[in-house]
């Protein structure tokens, strides 16, 4: 039932997965053609297994995997939505997979047209003036955006703008990206409504501030309703606004960061635009900019002359290249196929349903779980653990018990500003039946917490391994297997 072998434990001397015909050319001894000092004199430590052993080993391991193709995956902040398989089919077209990045432009016009059209679509969706498809994932997009902002202020001679403001609810990558780009990070506390505290913002704005990094809806799943005023305050102080597109899944076709006043934006094709992520595939984090900032984008961007597409390297203030070649092209193909198959109305419906699903689950469960910011949420929301805290059942216990009920646990203990956070993002691709099953499981767990807390504290019960000692693993890690 429970398969937990290493491939090295399956290995038996002499087992092989190939059967070659006898050599019909002269055998060459390695020692005769390679200098001795370049030859390995110890045996390679490789497993010896037959084909059926390899297949069974990895098939058994794959059963242990939990993925969005297997079940509900409400991992807040991650947008683990189902990715339609037609997008994979299209990305597998040999016309895309058999081209090489060094081919001349006139032989890859189709691929260039796809990139150009995707740039155009993302401009429309975000409300920005131009897009670079180069960044390879979200945090890479953030870093690219921060480098653009830095280069911009250096170009206009405002060297004193060395600070980036980040709210305390932000994704950890935001301060990390700003710091990596050479900025000092100022953290501002959220207000009691979970939104940016306008007074706190005003108190840090000044001629040393390069900008504000913000996610909207924010990490609590709440829409920053003062965004127009926030943008005005930052712009009046001479700063720029950076939009982290992590939560774009709530906004498609409904509102645009460009219209909110943001100057630089990154979006995650691998979340919002339905391409696999979280170990399921590489990401893609295009960056969009407005106005003068276009000249600072990484090169090349894809341009168009009449009906001919080309790589444009001629941006006077470019920050240079941020990725080899042109970014993760196959992810772009999937996003392009997704956007076309959904259409403008389809994208809007997707975001509307994502918001509806989150509010449905929130309302059904807030009687059982503590809801610190009780407001209409966007695509996700955050509980602060169980409502009834009397048996010392923790958020971790709830998450582990959910595994027994067959669900992937939500994000826990993030954002940091909510004690014992349980962050739930159902996404639009789940139907009411699935949401109801999840709601019932969460209610059952809340009941167990009151009547039989031990079953939560010892969960999970049905997994190949029981609860792991995370503290011991972190304090005394053994990272090398002796095989």
């Amino acid at each position: 039932m429970s398969y937990d072998k290493l491939i090295f434990e399956v290995s038996k001397v002499g087992h092989i997965a190939y059967n070659l015909p006898p050599l019909d050319v002269d055998d060459i001894q390695l020692e005769d053609v390679i200098p001795d000092e370049l030859l390995r004199h110890t045996e390679l430590n490789l497993p010896e297994v037959s084909e059926v052993e390899v297949i069974r080993h990895y098939t058994n391991l794959s059963y242990k995997n939990y993925s969005v193709d297997k079940g509900f995956y409400p991992l807040g902040s991650c947008t683990m939505k189902y990715n339609p398989k037609v997008n994979e089919d299209i990305a597998n077209f040999k016309e895309f997979t058999n081209i090489h990045p060094l081919q001349s432009e006139n032989t890859v016009q189709g691929a260039l047209k796809l990139m150009y059209d995707l740039q155009e679509m993302l401009k429309e969706i975000t409300g920005m003036d131009w897009i670079s498809l180069q960044p390879a994932a979200g945090a890479h997009g953030e870093l690219t955006g921060m480098m653009i902002i830095k280069a911009y202020f250096e170009d206009i001679g405002e060297y004193n703008r060395k600070k980036i403001i980040v709210p305390d609810s932000a994704h950890g990558t935001n301060p990390a990206s700003a710091a990596t780009a050479g900025f000092d990070v100022i953290e501002i506390k959220s207000g009691s409504d979970g939104l940016i505290d306008m007074e706190a913002l005003k108190s840090v704005l000044g001629d040393d501030v390069a900008g504000l990094m913000l996610t909207n809806p924010n990490t609590l799943g709440l829409f920053e309703k003062n965004i127009i005023e926030i943008a005005k305050l930052v712009h009046d102080a001479g700063g720029l606004l950076y939009y982290d597109g992590a939560n774009m899944n709530a906004n498609m076709g409904i509102t645009r960061p460009g219209d909110m006043g943001f100057d630089v934006v990154h979006i995650n094709l691998h979340k919002t635009f339905a391409t696999p992520h979280g170990g399921g595939g590489p990401g893609s984090g295009p960056v969009g900019v407005k106005g003068n900032l276009v000249d600072f984008l990484p090169v090349p961007v894809v341009g168009k002359n009449d009906d001919t597409y080309y790589f444009n390297y001629d941006l006077p203030n470019t920050i240079g290249k941020v990725r080899s070649f042109y970014g993760n092209f196959n992810v772009m193909v999937k996003a392009y196929a997704y956007i076309l198959s959904m259409g403008a109305e389809g994208l809007k419906t997707a975001s509307s349903l994502a918001v509806l699903n989150a509010n449905y689950v929130k309302e059904k469960l807030k009687e059982y779980y503590e809801l610190p910011f009780d407001a209409i949420c966007k695509h996700e929301f955050v509980f602060s653990g169980l409502k009834n805290k009397k048996n010392d059942v923790t958020t971790l216990d709830v998450a582990k018990r959910l595994i027994d009920y067959g669900f992937h646990p939500p994000t826990i203990y993030f954002p940091l500003i909510v004690d014992s956070a349980l962050m739930i993002e159902p996404t639009e691709t789940e139907n009411k039946e699935t949401l109801d099953e999840f709601i019932e499981a969460m209610k059952a767990i809340a009941k167990e917490a009151e009547e039989n807390p031990e079953i939560l504290k010892t969960a999970p019960h049905n997994t190949p391994v029981r609860r792991l000692d995370e503290v011991k693993a972190a304090r005394n890690p053994i990272v090398k297997a002796n095989v």
């Binding site: 950890g172 940091l416 995370e470 503290v471 972190a474 304090r475």
Partner: protein, 124 residues
Amino acid sequence: MKILEGLYYSKNHEWVKVEGDKAYVGITDFAQHSLGDIVYAELPEIDTVLNAGDTLGTVESVKAASDVYCPISGKVVEVNQSVADDPSLLNSDPYENWMICIEMTDKGELEQLMSPGEYREFCN
């Protein structure tokens, strides 16, 4: 929750113990309890000059990584290596196991910090 008499406390849950011109700085019992089991502690280099409010180091639990802020300005004259070697000491006795010792440049800053009574009120 344990709050020791004779120490100064910050809003970020650090404590300061004054000995002449020197001060020992650590995290409070409230801080270690909120963080959970601490698995990593990063301390500054000796001779680092810190302003009040600067990050003096980082503590990391299985839940999260958090900056530790220096409540007072001065120069780091000593760091507690045993805390870096065994961060669980911050859980077992956060007041015994200080993180850094600093040579204060402005003792007046201590007035900005909280008394044990004020800190107890703050945590509630």
